[in-house]
Symmetry: D2
Subunit: 368 residues, 4 copies
């Protein structure tokens, strides 16, 4: 790796690593060269990879110069994704080490300090490496590097991201949960107890690997929950909420798979702090995100709809009164592949490169 395909990515380069939920991953490395910044994607054959390509293809500063894919090395991208057939893109190449998933963190560890990285995998999201070992079943491979990783929830950690070398891009579920809850916890507007989250996700989150459970015939016209209480996004959510609350937060979290490709909704039921009202929560969130381009608190009692953010980097949020006195219902929606993965990664990469944060991300939702 060090002497191979990345040798031409030097001092000023940045690296964006993307990984679809289960195993595969992608890395984008960027190097400022004249007016264009060369970018490489590690793991380009998955859904987050191709979503990165969608945004980067029209990006005014980034130019994709390298793409790897474990099982599809040697193929043209147009043969893997026919809609990219007319695009001027490099062929897919192999990364040397075959057991890629387990050494990824090591790869990054070996890159020169000058390389900056956005990692879409979960490798650097958990600040406590014991948590990592517990939830991922193996010791962390780059504990030193972990210390400098910044959690890439852009609207929350914008300042740190701008100067970060390594950004751990958040998972999709954590993005939907943390965007509304972190400001409320910081403002002491909700209690830390009994935060009950039920999340619905489109199936693209499960990636492009061939699995019986994800066949059209198994997914269409039906729903089911999975990973109940054991989903790997849980420690990430609890870490961020605990940080915001400055106290340990334990959540209830039930993810459910939807018969749709893209889209994610979290329905979050919370106890309000004594004296706080639904209107207080809503006003605080509205103010907090007032100047954000990608996060909108909806007016009145409009219910967020995943279809209205499809294909875009947006997050829609609203707050509703609950029938149970003192409790509130918060609903947030995103496109799991965009704000939940590749869109937020580019948002972070833009920041790290000193570009306007929304560069290349202004595409509107695709509706219907």
């Amino acid at each position: 790796m060090d002497g191979g395909c990345f040798s031409r990515f030097q001092d000023e380069s940045k690296l964006l690593k993307a990984r679809k939920m289960p195993v595969r991953c992608s890395v984008v490395s960027a190097q400022k060269l004249d007016k264009s910044i060369k970018v490489g994607i590690l793991g380009a054959s998955g859904y987050t990879g191709v979503e990165l390509i969608r945004f980067l293809a029209n990006h005014p500063y980034f130019d994709i110069s390298l793409m790897t894919a474990d099982r599809k090395a040697g193929q043209s991208i147009g043969s893997v994704f026919p809609h990219l057939i007319a695009q001027d893109l490099p062929d897919l190449i192999a990364v040397k080490d075959a057991d890629f998933s387990s050494v990824e963190a090591e790869i990054i560890k070996g890159l020169p300090n000058s390389v900056k990285i956005v990692d879409l995998s979960a490798d650097f999201r958990l600040r406590d490496i014991n948590d990592y070992g517990e939830w991922y079943g193996q010791p962390h491979k780059a504990t030193e590097l972990q210390k400098e990783a910044v959690y890439g929830l852009t609207e929350i950690y914008r300042n740190k991201i701008q100067s970060a070398r390594l950004v751990a891009n958040p998972g999709c579920y954590p993005t939907t949960v943390c965007l509304p809850l972190i400001p409320l916890l910081k403002a002491n507007l909700i209690a830390l107890q009994n935060i009950v989250i039920v999340s619905n996700s489109g199936v693209s989150g499960a990636g492009r690997s061939a699995k019986e459970a994800n066949l059209y015939t198994e997914i269409s016209e039906g729903i089911f929950s999975y990973g109940i209480t054991r989903h790997r996004h849980v420690p990430e959510i609890e870490q961020e909420l605990s940080e915001a609350a400055n106290s340990r937060v334990t959540i209830s979290f039930t993810p459910t798979l939807m018969p749709m490709s893209r889209g994610m909704q979290s329905t979050i039921n919370v106890q309000m702090a004594p004296g706080a009202s639904v209107e207080d929560l809503k006003q605080h969130l509205t103010g907090f995100y007032e100047k954000e381009e990608f996060v909108t608190v909806l007016p009145n009692d409009s219910a967020p709809h995943t279809k209205y953010v499809q294909g875009s980097n947006r997050c829609h949020i609203n707050v509703f009164p609950d029938r149970i006195p003192g409790r509130a219902i918060i609903i947030s929606v995103i496109d799991n592949l965009v704000k939940g993965a590749s869109g937020q990664a580019l948002q972070n990469l833009n920041l790290m490169m000193g570009l306007p944060e929304n560069t290349g991300l202004s595409c509107m939702p695709l509706f219907p």
Copy 2:
């Protein structure tokens, strides 16, 4: 009505009234005659109506002899539902009073005492007629008749249903919630506070009326919540849970519309009673439904899947530990048009007619 199309439904007849959620409704009236029981369906052109026809068409004792449809009177059923073209069924006829929705209860009131009724509308579900007025925005039209109505959750009220004249068939959401919670509340295994329910429903629950919001282009590949805290099934759920708990229960309830035609899942987060464990909850439910053909508590940690009950009268339930200490997650799934409407209606009608409860209901789920 009394002298019109129902004049031939006499002494031993029974009546089944079906209504899709929003406005239309159906009535099935059954009369034992020789070996076959004549049945009429009031409101046959909607989805619950046609689902009743599906089950009744092959029923060994029931014979459909009358079908009404408000806006499609005069048409053959084959022109409304082409798959019924080869079926020997009567044409759709009109019910005299045009403003049918508002006088339905009055119609039933006017029927002879000998007529027994299964009502799929919400007219007789709420025992407190003030609740009815509050949630439905109009005074109840048949308060006397309300007093003898039995809530048709078959597995819970079987004895009362057998001798009832009027059965109020439960809504689909209440069926998914009450089947698991009523036994647990009766056994004092869960607390009455902070019952948080998030329910996902297939769009057939919204009926067959033409609405922009239910177009394929609006529903496919997207999800959104609706009627948050104000859904009309809430008072019905709270009534039954309060009855089981012998104390007032207030719930949190968020329904979400799914891009699928059939299927419903409720994810129910509860606080366990002091000392009670997830295993206690599961064992109690398993024992309670051990001999029931249509309700199954799944083994181990199998997650219920709506697709595995599609087209059948079954309900699958399981109980899971929550990360929040002392709380549990209960998931139940049904086909909203079958156990959530027409299947349960037939189950009740069978009971009222002294037939085996599962007659005509043994069809397996359609998978995939």
Copy 3:
């Protein structure tokens, strides 16, 4: 095989072999024993296998006593198909020879003469074993047995099927094409030239094996043609049309994959014989299928709709005038898993066992 799991299937037994399109297969063997007929399914873990189970579970005469599945041996059927969890069915067992797909025909060859077979695979559909070799890339393994195989298009070959030992169950595409065209060719109502067929199929026809191309994310909201001019159902269709025409028929055939699980429509464009009119074609088909329970020629200009046959053994057909003078458009629809596979197999098995042809097949379409 001979001494193993099938040893108990003797003299009067019958065998039903099912195979999903790509590789897996299933065999049903039936033995009359007292009042019930014992049945085994070879290849029960696929979609045609589970569809057979759906029909057989409620069949009054057949009892499933044996089920095999290559990769899921040792598992309970409830763990493979959770909706069968409450069903009293045997566990899945292995068939000895691992290279099952290539020796299947040999297995059948080794069964005693008294065993009767419905084979859902393509092994015995082509009467010319050279055609088999050409289209399937390997020599036929049971050429003697081929000679006595009867093509199981029930409405066309009913008499032969009743006395057959081995029935080759037709493919789904051939069923949609041959049901309308065979009667028209026999009556010399259409020309043999320029028969142009475009067929749309639900994705369950591709089976349950895990393939990237059949993931929900790849199939939903999109369509594409495949196997253009090279689909393996082509020789089967041409064989049957040529037989009916008593002359070699070459067709144009383009199959397209649909974003739906079940359903198949063939749009067939034909040149009418000199002097023949659309009305002639329609009248002839209507008369031909007048007494058939499962094939209906629709009245007027009703367009067949796959959703109106979903889950049932029915075929809907209609004939339309073409703008090109002298040509006609014929449309036929089925559920590919039922009349296109398991339903027709049971229809044939009923016939072979001397039972009423529709036994266990009277379930209505599932709509919506």
Copy 4:
């Protein structure tokens, strides 16, 4: 109209009128003002309207300054399409004359000569006004204006479009059929007889009006043909093919509705000219479209896939050998709302305004 909302659109303005298939319509009027060109959309509340907004929102030269919607006048666009809530767009206003659909052509007739128009409705597509009367059941309202209308199939009529005042934007089906067939007919590579077209369309083509037939529950998991031989796009296709062939062409055309929102595939079966081969057809098309950004003839035997053009202005085409000697199968796919409607309209408007044709149209397909 003349004195009302359009009074401020003067000399250099251009007008884009969009109409979804059934009834509603939209008009975009553009006026060069300083550096930005003001644009109005007539009929903005439908699917082609909102698709225009998607492209125009990020267009560097066009600025939407006026939007009308017949039934939603007075509403903000954000209340009609919540994903536009953060967009700086004018509210929807009414067009004075209520009977809008019938006088549209008259409205355009009354606009000053300096106003240029792209009309997405069918009003000006048929050059023979008798054809219009026959297929649309009413006399043409602006026969003079018809004479100067240019048919807006961009790649074919580019030169005429650049200097046109009024462009009649093609229908979606005609676009898929004419793009491959016009070059082949002009080059005498295919026969005029027996052109058999079977087209599959996503349901967004039917617009956003509430119809029972287009409910999710009616469309999902099923397919059916409609308007067989009588579809209103037929005369448009035959007009263009006849023009290219310089001789009357009559086609067979069967449209089928798909369970998907966007996407269209035409499968076109043709007889090749004597001596012509499939390779000849393919080479000619490849050469013809070599320099086009939006039309691609796929390499080898790649089958076009609608999902790979979803959301983009692209058309993918390929040619295949038929089993019937001398015949070929041509398959073309587009996104019906983009290259089949609003994308092509913008392509035309760009041309009329002297802008690069692809301005604002470079967005990549959304996959998955």
